[in-house]
Symmetry: C2
Subunit: 238 residues, 2 copies
């Protein structure tokens, strides 16, 4: 039976692909890669291109606009789901590729929901990928948690009150989507005594990777869209 | 310069090793695998054995007792650090292998701290691994987070008050080390209306993998040591 594979390709370094992801990408009939603008490069596709055979495999770039406007998003998800379902019905295996992990803040989640509602009998296999969180910790040499420690993972855009609550309560706080609130975050982290226990990582696993340790190094930086911060309790070792 | 590689080998399935981990394990001179009892098998070593060449590579099983008694743990860490440092000083590359990710609840964290204190000039490279959290979500088909959602990761042994606080506050709660408190956890989850929005996964990525969805399926189960739960808000789709 033809299958939809949701393949996490990791943070952007082809070496951080799993062996399973590589095998599935070599075998699939169709590869669908998300992009946010027409004509834009796909980080996920660039990561896996050397495993593909463009003479044999169909490669589709599908646009998912970078917006929270659901009247624009829903048609893009439905169109992608229809494209995929048609190929599966024709007996083709389709690999939807996504940077990081398919179940952690990925576009695939919306497609999964559509498939469950509209064609629950379709075969879906999810291949976990190395998340940018683990890769950023490795690049910065920062521990995520040990023993009984607790971790919170929060998009900064969820609200500064939620960020503060997590910083007070959790041993390690991973802040995602830091770009739009970067200045405000630096101020809050400074006020909460995290000047030495914060690290910023952007474009992790790519040639453009940057690691900034401590708030002094971060001040004045203009973050990339693909960036995150790992914040520990004051006085803890990074 | 000889290097210490901390290699995350993923949850236990050789296909969920990254291509980078495979390359480093094939090249390393020495492989050090943790075990918790003498004579015990190492899940990490079993995962990577087919990439090793026992005629050329030194393979060391080192015991880290499964205890919180630091008078027993500290000597085990120091002995492992000394074993590794001696080989690096002799020009050998050493790969310390760990299931999951080396910076997420792994024994490697203690060694990293010893190296930073006692020989800060030693070269250490950390290779992120697929965490059991991402693999469990993929196996169960449960989303970890989307959009502005927030995730808490908590060892259940941190205290039931902390578990309850996270369940109230966070969209997704990942509970680790659930074995010693399994009965009590099921009771708390039932009381908090999570009967349908909890999933239990043990030995993920291994032939002994088990996924139990909803509290009714979990009742009466005797969990394996390598098990976790993913809990969503009441009424949310798994």
């Amino acid at each position: 039976m033809a299958t939809i594979y949701a393949v996490g390709v990791g943070p952007g370094d082809p070496e951080l692909l799993t062996r399973k992801a590589e095998r599935i990408l070599r075998q699939a009939d169709v590869i669908l890669a998300p992009i946010s603008r027409p004509g834009e490069a796909s980080v996920a596709l660039d990561t896996v291109r050397k495993f593909l055979d463009e003479r044999r495999q169909e490669i589709i770039l599908h646009q998912f606009p970078m917006t929270s406007d659901r009247t624009r998003l829903i048609p893009a998800w439905q169109e992608a789901a229809a494209l995929i379902a048609a190929r599966v019905a024709a007996g083709q295996d389709v690999a939807f590729i996504t940077i990081g992990d398919p179940l952690l803040y990925s576009t695939f989640i919306y497609l999964l929901r559509i498939f469950r509602e509209t064609c629950p009998q379709i075969a879906i296999e999810i291949i976990p990928g190395i998340s940018s969180i683990n890769t950023a910790a490795a690049a910065a040499g920062v521990t995520l948690a040990e023993a009984e420690e607790r971790i919170a993972i929060i998009p900064a855009t969820a609200g500064m009150d939620k960020v503060v609550e997590a910083l007070v309560t959790y041993d390690t706080v991973v802040l995602l989507k830091v770009k739009p609130l970067f200045g405000e975050l630096l101020e809050v982290l400074g006020r909460m005594g995290r000047g030495q226990s914060s690290v910023f990582v952007e474009r992790v696993g790519s040639p453009r990777q940057k690691v900034l340790t401590g708030l002094a190094e971060m001040a004045g930086h203009n973050p990339d869209y693909l960036s995150l911060m790992i914040v520990k309790q004051p006085g803890s070792c990074l």
